[in-house]
């Protein structure tokens, strides 16, 4: 469905996307993962035909986006990051306009609009003015917009940004539903998001593709960076006990009143996190330190990137880090 080879985009001296190549096959839900400013939106905008590339070739559903832009655009539904909509229109009017712009046949238009509203869950707001909708509903109207006319490929730029946790859960559920019928490429900077809805992940950092693999493969990279322990009083004793285990490279204590939070960074090598966590808790209890809570810190995306970008030698596309070794 998507074939990107050696894609480069420059803005003046800034290289936003640097020699990126990847493929997305039919029926996949691919997560495009990267921190803010990594080049995700730029890449998606090029795919959607909104921006031109500096170098490289991009094919969408068999059509080159530069040479055969109109055909390429016909075969995809795109939801831009900011979900731009016309506030003065009603939902159903807007979607009818989008259906016509996307050249859905006149006879099929009403049905296309209804089914997009149904799928995206905005049917109950069909006659509301878009300007009066909540952020969550606007996001869904954006999704309905991408879905209208049932294009084989959907490109969604941060579909859950700015939503509250309930709305995020709903949108993720929606994405899994949509993924049954459409090929989806979605971007996000949240690891949990790809884990919950994607079949495959592309990781981009500083404009370069740094990893590519199944969700499980990426998950494996998600090593907890530290052990967080909260104790009451006896901070020095707790610190000494933990240091004696020799599994932490650094321990930082933060005391507020009589409660101390210890952030213990795991040693890089030779430490099994689950086992060491058990040992640490046992040691604290044996030393009769009052422990309020103890848990491995969830790794953030930045840590995964740190992990990924540490590899000094360049790797071939077929053997990127993240593949099972």
């Amino acid at each position: 469905m998507i074939s990107v080879s050696h894609l480069t985009k420059r803005y003046g001296d800034v290289v936003a996307v640097n020699d990126v190549s990847f493929e997305v096959g039919k029926g996949e839900i691919v997560g495009f993962l990267g921190p803010n400013g990594a080049g995700k939106s730029t890449t998606l905008r090029i795919l959607a035909g909104f921006l031109g590339q500096t170098r490289g070739s991009v094919r969408v559903c068999g059509h080159d986006v530069a040479l055969d832009s109109l055909e390429a655009r016909k075969s995809l539904g795109y939801m831009p990051e900011s979900v731009p909509l016309y506030p003065e229109m009603r939902v159903i009017e807007y979607l009818a306009f989008r259906a016509e712009v996307k050249r859905v046949e006149r006879k099929k238009r009403a049905h296309a609009v209804d089914s997009a509203m149904e799928k995206a869950g905005v049917a109950d707001r069909a006659t509301s003015l878009i300007g009066k909708l909540s952020k969550g509903y606007r996001q869904r109207v954006g999704l309905a917009d991408a879905l209208v006319g049932s294009p084989p490929l959907l490109i969604l730029d941060e579909p859950t940004s700015g939503l509250d946790p309930n709305q995020i859960r709903e949108v993720r559920k929606l994405l899994r539903e949509i993924g049954k019928e459409h090929t989806v490429l979605l971007s996000t900077h949240i690891l949990g998001e790809v884990e919950s809805s994607c079949t495959r992940v592309l990781v981009i950092a500083k404009g370069k593709l740094v990893a590519e693999g199944s969700v499980d493969e990426i998950r494996r990279l998600r090593r907890s960076p530290a052990f967080m322990v909260v104790v009451r009083g006896e901070a020095a004793k707790a610190e000494a006990t933990l240091a004696a285990l020799e599994v932490f490279s650094k321990i930082v204590a933060d005391t507020a009143g009589d409660v101390t939070t210890l952030r213990c960074t795991w040693k890089k090598k030779g430490v099994t996190i689950d086992e060491s966590a058990e040992q640490a808790i046992a040691a604290l209890v044996n030393a009769s330190v009052p422990v309020r809570s103890a848990a491995p810190e969830q790794s953030r995306l930045e840590d995964v990137f740190a992990e990924l970008t540490e590899e000094p030698e360049p790797v071939a596309a077929s053997e990127r880090p993240g593949r099972p070794s």
Partner: protein, 249 residues
């Protein structure tokens, strides 16, 4: 022409569903109505022999009021066409749909043009009123409306182009008003430059004042048509190029 009709319909919708178009039309019709009633009153008091003009001529030509309303109306009509879409980001949805840049530009232009036509349409009633009490040369009326249509079409085209140059509606408004003002002042140059000089000829050629005087007397000069055509087509062409260039940005 992929995407022309839906975009045209949406633009008309956007014009007419917001108060802007109604406010502009109200202002326009109030000014033009006053203008007309004052003219008719003057003419009826003067008697036929004293005047070498007809009310139609006076309404469309030889009056600064006409340009005043154009200055007031055209910039706010065109300012939002592209600037608003770029500011709010809707241009991204629009241009990622299978539409060509040319059809988007032409659709927006056509919407502005139709709205402009709708503003002038009620003024035909004035002519009908005149005809009830006297003789009206419909050729002159036709030439006058052609003139006003062409001048407006050129102005709207320039306004559309200005709207594509900036993300700020306000800046688009100011730029359009400035360009129209410069064009008008250059035309006025006809009266301040020496007869026979090149500058004088140029000024006379682009003078919208002189053009409306001609058209309002029933004189349709092909040189004027060519100038108007250029003022319509050139900005439209440039706008299409600007829209296409956004992809390369």
């Amino acid at each position: 022409m992929s995407g022309f009709w839906p975009v045209l319909k949406r633009e008309l919708f956007a014009f007419w569903v917001t108060p802007l178009a109604w406010v502009l039309i109200s202002v326009f019709l109030i000014v033009q109505g006053l203008h007309f009633s004052v003219l008719v009153k003057n003419f009826s008091e003067m008697g036929a022999i004293e005047s070498d003009q007809t009310p139609i001529q006076a309404f469309f030509g030889n009056t600064v009021l006409l340009y005043l309303v154009l200055f007031l109306l055209v910039p706010p009509m065109t300012m939002r066409l592209f600037a608003e879409e770029r500011r709010s980001g809707t241009i991204e949805s629009l241009l990622t749909a299978p539409v060509s840049a040319a059809s988007v530009v032409l659709a927006k232009y056509a919407a502005a043009l139709l709205t402009y036509g709708a503003m002038w349409a009620p003024t035909v009633l004035y002519v009908v009123i005149l005809q009830r009490s006297g003789f009206v040369d419909w050729h002159v009326v036709g030439a006058s409306y052609l003139g006003i249509g062409l001048v407006g079409a050129g102005y709207l085209s320039l306004g559309l182009f200005m709207s594509a140059l900036t993300k700020s509606q306000f800046l688009a408004l100011i730029l359009t008003a400035l360009v129209l003002l410069v064009l008008f002042i250059l035309g006025i140059g006809e009266f301040v430059t020496r007869d026979g000089s090149t500058l004088h000829d140029v000024c006379a050629y682009i003078s919208v004042w002189a053009q409306m005087n001609d058209f309002a007397s029933g004189v349709v000069d092909s040189r004027r048509l060519f100038l108007d055509g250029t003022l319509i087509v050139l900005p439209l062409f440039l706008t299409v190029r600007v829209v296409e260039s956004w992809r390369a940005e």
